[in-house]
Amino acid sequence: MHQTNTKYYYPYISPFDPCPPIIRKSYSTPPQLYMGFQPTNLVQFNTAKEALFCGTLWPAFHDPYPPKEGREDN
């Protein structure tokens, strides 16, 4: 199964909503929700600096924010 770290949904839009509607909204579903007990020997970043700047030693946990696919659409 392909895992995504962002889910999208479409709230109900009423003709009487005062703010311009956001058609598509999103929420985060980061990797720890899918990992289970971390397996041993998970692939690591190549350098310590890369790990530092990504905030984790393992690319499988790296979850860039805001998401590349965008947060919401008008």
Binding site: Q38, T40, N41, T47, A48, A51, L52, L57, W58
Partner: protein
Amino acid sequence: MNTPKQMPQAYYDLLEEIQAVDFVLVELNLYLDTHPNDTNAIEQFNQCTYESKKLKKQFEKQFGPLMHFGRSYSGYPWNWDDTPWPWQM
């Protein structure tokens, strides 16, 4: 007016190297707290510990103590409380 003290680029560079190794150590430490039998991770942890100690020795020789309460040697005069503190740099 006081001439402001400025740290050389080497200070920031070496500190960043220490931050990187120490970060790997934090990651491995938390991982080992839930995976106490992973020998590869323990070996990597010990290797990084060695690396971190080496870098800190080098840093402290140039820029003064990183730790207090006897975890680092002091210069003369007492240089533990020299600026900049981490939030100031």
